[in-house]
């Protein structure tokens, strides 16, 4: 790693103040993405502001029709939270499939969502459930938040504080892990929420996580795996790499979507 100054913040206000001190500072949460990047000399922030230990950012609470998760809540805590398991089991199970126990013990929802890795799992849940990402400055709907590969609507030094997930009537997530990395080669999250039927796909989009509106319309009339027969995204919009060409990913999206629906039936 290149040398940097490390600060451990104990509140959001302190984190904001520390971020303001220099213009090459960066937030550190679980470090599961950032630390490897630093080790590989692929980033060289002068200052790291650690928000991973801020107690007020580590919680899961039910708030009316939402489950709200604090940005610094580690995956393991989310996956095993009794309220969440009851209210949105699909989300708890998604989080339980992220990485391995080490990663889940330290990696956080805020870091995952802010990073917007095209193969990450959380973005699929955010988009399909119509989550709201609440920052220290504003609230951003998931539809507006994920803007491209590793790109989000966050501006410099904006801090995610929490993510609010509407409790769905029905939801399920099916993940086809990349054989090597175990991130999603394809992950499909299906949900019936107040706003309607939503289907989000991660791991496969050339532009990151995306919604499969064609599947959504089919499912509105007929919530069944059969309704998805033959509905595939165009290969032009999909990633292609040594683990799976675009046509294979397109096919898997259909299979995973059907399996997700089957879980709920």
């Amino acid at each position: 790693m290149y040398p940097f100054t490390y600060h451990k913040a104990s509140s959001i206000e302190q984190a904001q103040a520390l971020l303001d001190v220099s213009n090459d500072s960066k937030l550190l949460a679980g470090g599961q993405t950032l630390i490897p990047t630093l080790k590989q000399h692929l980033a060289s922030p002068g200052t790291l502001v650690d928000i991973g230990k801020i107690e007020s950012l580590r919680f899961i609470r039910v708030e009316k029709a939402n489950v709200v998760i604090g940005a610094a809540t580690p995956h393991a805590q989310v996956a095993n939270d009794k309220n969440l398991v009851q209210k949105i089991p699909a989300l708890a199970s998604l989080v339980g499939k992220i990485g391995d126990p080490h990663v889940r013990n330290v990696g956080t929802i805020g870091g995952s969502v802010a990073n917007n890795d095209p193969a990450a799992d959380y973005p699929a849940a955010c988009l399909a459930l119509g989550a709201t990402i609440r920052t220290d400055k504003r609230s951003i709907s998931a539809d507006d938040f994920f803007t491209g590969l590793f790109e989000t609507a966050l501006v410099e030094q904006e801090i995610i504080v929490e993510v609010a997930f509407p409790v769905p009537a029905l939801a399920a997530y099916e993940k086809f892990p990349n054989p090597a990395s175990r991130y999603a080669l394809v992950g499909v999250f299906v949900a019936q929420v107040e706003a309607g039927v939503r289907v989000a796909v991660t791991g496969a989009g050339a532009n990151g996580v995306f919604r499969m509106t064609e599947m959504e319309s089919a499912l509105v009339n007929d919530w069944s795996a059969d309704a998805l027969e033959g509905i595939l995204p165009s290969v032009d919009s999909l990633l292609s790499d040594l683990h799976g060409a675009a046509d294979y990913r397109a096919h898997l999206i259909n299979v995973m979507a059907k399996r997700a629906i089957a879980q709920t039936c």
């Binding site: 040398p3 590989q40 086809f176 054989p179 090597a180 799976g244 060409a245 294979y248």
Partner: protein, 781 residues
């Protein structure tokens, strides 16, 4: 002493230290004044070095020194060598391209070392390495052997036409062709044996030290064979004479072959320590391991099997192109030749065999021995051919194998080896029973109803292990002898130190070897220490690879134990005033046979050293004996592995639902350790079959699978249920009857898995690794 002796399933004594974090690995060793090395590596697959500017790097605070290839050359250092001479079919010796530890003129693969930066800390050394500015003139690269063989392909080494290192052959071509002419059926297959990247848990590391007062060098490093390392670094590279160089290979976290070889990095650390007179340490980062550890396999083969109308195998022929990488590594020429071609008879009586192998240079990391080394490649060729032949001729794969098994021993194959013993029917019969072969059709139907394809595949493999005897190895081109040495030191207080030239880097020698000693000396295992891995204490050793440590290394210990027991009996006879023949050793005491007069073990040991009670004119004081043991033949472990799997046609995912292995390893010392070796080997074989692939980009020559994000290492969830059993025909070529078990799993499994997979999908058109994406594509119609 049956509690801890031969055959006892006891826990590994070394594990306490490993699992409590008290292992002592190379990187755990720190010396006063130590500095750190970081290598400047080539970012290009092929380029001329036009300039190396170190000014900026040297100016960094904490950068101590920077060396380039020119500095090493100026010091008169030799290059890295390949210790096995292979002769082409036209009689020409193989063409070994020069391999300077630090490239000075030209870089030949991504990761090739160009300079070494030495700094006060790892971080500083790394910053220094980034600040070294190397000017390259990029050249076209070639990573595929088939393309490298084109007349106008870029040349890896000047003057080596078509990048051909050797074109080797083995067997009788005319007899083979004649047998093919008579064949009723010929099975033909094109086979790719994928490139594997070793991935030991502990990355390679080195710590070089120099004492200017005495002129002594010490190298601590992750070596499977420290004496060979010393021999190469002194006799060929020329850093220090052998008696002024000590090589210590402390605890080592896995090798799988990749730590047999003498690499650029430890060479540079040791040499640099002498230049700057400070200890120099380097520990590979995982990404360096991917780039610069010697890789394994990487063959492309066309193979054919000729059968008569009755299904008897008449002849086999194979043409293989082996990717050697950019340089010949320490033993790389032996792997696709003598460790491969000689195994092509499998377990079968085949009249004629002919194999040609072209060893080709490419702009990729060197390829050398990796668990199994040549034998997995041979087994894959033979067992895929046999399975396909059964399918093509509508014969049962088990019956076809049995019809062709060798049943009389010794058996001279057409490809050098003389199998001394085996019972192949015993293995396959037991394995077929364990997997319930009869019930397979029912199970297949059951899978169908779940929408899955089910397949079963066999692999009746053979391997030549215990690499030895020396004269045989020498006649095939080995630059070293392949005996093993041992020393047994009985201390005056009766406990025992056994020094072995074998090296344990995960195999559990400290337990297995002690079990032999416990059995033979009838003393508790707690009183025995196994010492290995230090040229200053072990007299000499050839190291551990080729499943040789038990067969050859333990046989050497056994020989030293014979001598110790004989001498101890002479001393006991003196004291008890009888003849040595009247003395027996049992229950840790030397007893006059048929009486209750005895000397306890400990008392005898003390007597040996006090030398009060026998004439030192007749018997030398002390109780310590050595041996150099050379066996009379290779050993031939063999067995039958059967894999049953299901394919999810929707996703292409393969799930191994049952896996049975019945192996004949001769005598087994510790069944638990042997089972562990088989489990690990099978998992590596499954890794090759379904998961792992070392891929270079054809255009740029960059390693595409350079991290775990893209290189699929088998994980716990990839381990299927494994059911093992053993049959036993003791090896006649060594006193213990041991054959060796370290590589069997990796040798047998790929063919078993691919045979099962092709049985499930109903065609042969799929290559390793059979990833879900590939399997899915192969079943699209």
């Amino acid at each position: 002493m049956s509690g801890t002796g031969i055959g006892a399933r006891i826990e590994r004594t070394e594990d306490k230290r490993f699992i409590t974090g008290n292992g002592r690995y190379t990187d755990d060793i720190n010396l006063p004044g130590q500095v750190y090395a970081c290598f400047v590596r080539s970012p290009h697959a092929h380029a001329k070095i036009t300039d190396i500017d170190v000014k900026e790097a040297l100016a960094l605070e904490g950068v101590v020194k920077i060396f380039t290839g020119k500095d090493m050359e100026a010091d008169g250092l030799g290059g890295l060598i390949c210790g096995w001479m292979v002769t082409s079919k036209d009689g020409e010796p193989m063409k070994a391209g020069e391999h300077p530890p630090l490239a000075s003129e030209c870089v030949r693969y991504v990761g090739d070392c160009v300079a070494v930066v030495i700094g006060e800390s790892r971080e500083v050394a790394r910053l220094g390495a980034e600040a070294v500015s190397v000017s390259y003139e990029e050249l076209d690269a070639v990573v595929e052997p088939a393309q490298a063989q084109n007349q106008n392909a870029p040349k890896v080494h000047d003057g080596i036409d078509k990048n051909l290192c050797f074109h080797w052959q083995l067997g009788d071509k005319d007899a083979t062709d004649a047998a093919f002419d008579k064949a009723a059926h010929v099975t033909r297959l094109d086979i790719v044996n994928n490139r594997l990247i070793p991935n030991a848990i502990e990355p390679r590391a080195a710590l070089g030290d120099y004492n200017p007062g005495s002129g002594d060098y010490t190298l601590y490093t992750t070596s499977q064979n420290p004496h060979v390392e010393r021999l190469v670094l002194s006799a060929f590279v020329g850093i220090a004479p052998e008696h002024k160089l000590r090589v210590v290979s402390p605890d080592v976290g896995g090798g799988f072959g990749s730590k047999i070889f003498v690499y650029a990095e430890e060479t540079a650390c040791l040499w640099a320590a002498g230049k700057i007179r400070r200890p120099v340490k380097w520990t590979a980062e995982r990404s360096e391991s991917f780039l610069a550890d010697a890789h394994g396999r990487d063959h492309v083969t066309h193979a054919e099997l000729a059968l008569d109308s009755d299904g008897r195998f008449l002849a086999l022929r194979a043409h293989t192109v082996a990717n050697l990488g950019a340089y010949l590594s320490t033993f790389s020429s032996s792997v696709p030749t003598y460790l491969y071609g000689t195994l092509l008879s499998g377990q079968y009586d085949i009249g004629a065999i002919h194999v040609e192998v072209e060893g080709v240079y490419t702009h990729t990391a060197p390829v050398d021995a990796y668990r199994g080394a040549g034998r997995p490649e041979a087994t894959f060729v033979v067992e895929r051919l046999v399975e396909c032949a059964a399918r093509e001729t509508n014969k049962d794969p088990v019956e076809l194998r049995k019809k062709n098994f060798i049943t009389k021993f010794p058996h001279q194959t057409p490809v050098i080896l003389n199998y001394d013993i085996g019972d192949y029917n015993a293995c396959i019969n037991r394995a077929v029973e364990m997997i319930d072969y009869k019930g397979f059709d029912e199970r297949r139907k059951g899978s169908q109803t779940k929408g899955k394809l089910r397949g079963i595949g066999f692999s009746t493999y053979i391997e030549a292990c215990g690499l030895a005897p020396s004269s045989a190895a020498g006649s095939l081109g080995a630059g070293v002898g392949l005996w093993e040495s041992a020393e047994v030191r009985v201390n005056p207080t009766g406990n025992v130190e056994v020094l072995t030239g074998a090296h344990s880097h995960g195999q559990g020698h400290e337990t297995s070897f002690a079990q032999l000693v416990s059995e033979r000396l009838t003393i508790p295992i707690e009183d025995i220490t196994i010492v290995h891995g230090d040229t200053a204490s072990v007299q000499f050793g050839m190291g551990t690879y080729g499943s040789r440590s038990a067969a050859v290394g333990m046989s050497a210990i056994d020989g030293a134990l014979d001598k110790v027991i004989a001498k101890a009996k002479r001393i006991a006879a003196h004291i008890l005033e009888v003849q040595p023949d009247d003395i027996e050793l049992a229950d840790a005491a030397f007893r006059i046979k048929g009486t209750n007069k005895f000397i306890p073990w400990g008392e005898l040991a003390l007597n040996a050293y006090t030398a009060h009670k026998f004439s030192t004119d007749e018997i030398e004081p002390g109780l310590k004996e050595t041996t150099f043991y050379d066996p009379t033949n290779f050993t031939f472990p063999a067995g039958c592995h059967i894999c049953e799997l299901e394919v999810d046609t929707q996703t292409g995912c393969v799930e191994i639902v049952d896996y049975v292995a019945v192996d004949d390893f001769g005598t087994i010392i510790n069944p638990m350790i042997v089972e562990g070796q088989v489990h690990g080997g099978i998992l590596q074989g499954i890794g090759q079959a379904l998961l792992e692939n070392g891929i270079y980009d054809v255009e740029s020559g960059q390693l595409v699978t350079g991290s775990y994000m893209d290189y699929t290492m088998p994980r716990a969830h990839d381990a299927p249920p494994l059911r093992l059993d053993f049959t036993k025909t003791p090896a006649p070529s060594n006193p213990l009857g041991i054959k060796g078990c370290g590589e069997a799993g990796a040798i047998a499994a790929p063919a078993a898995v691919l045979n099962a997979l092709t049985s499930a999908i109903g065609h042969e058109g799929i290559s390793m690794p059979a990833t879900p994406a590939k399997v899915w594509r192969s079943i699209q119609t």
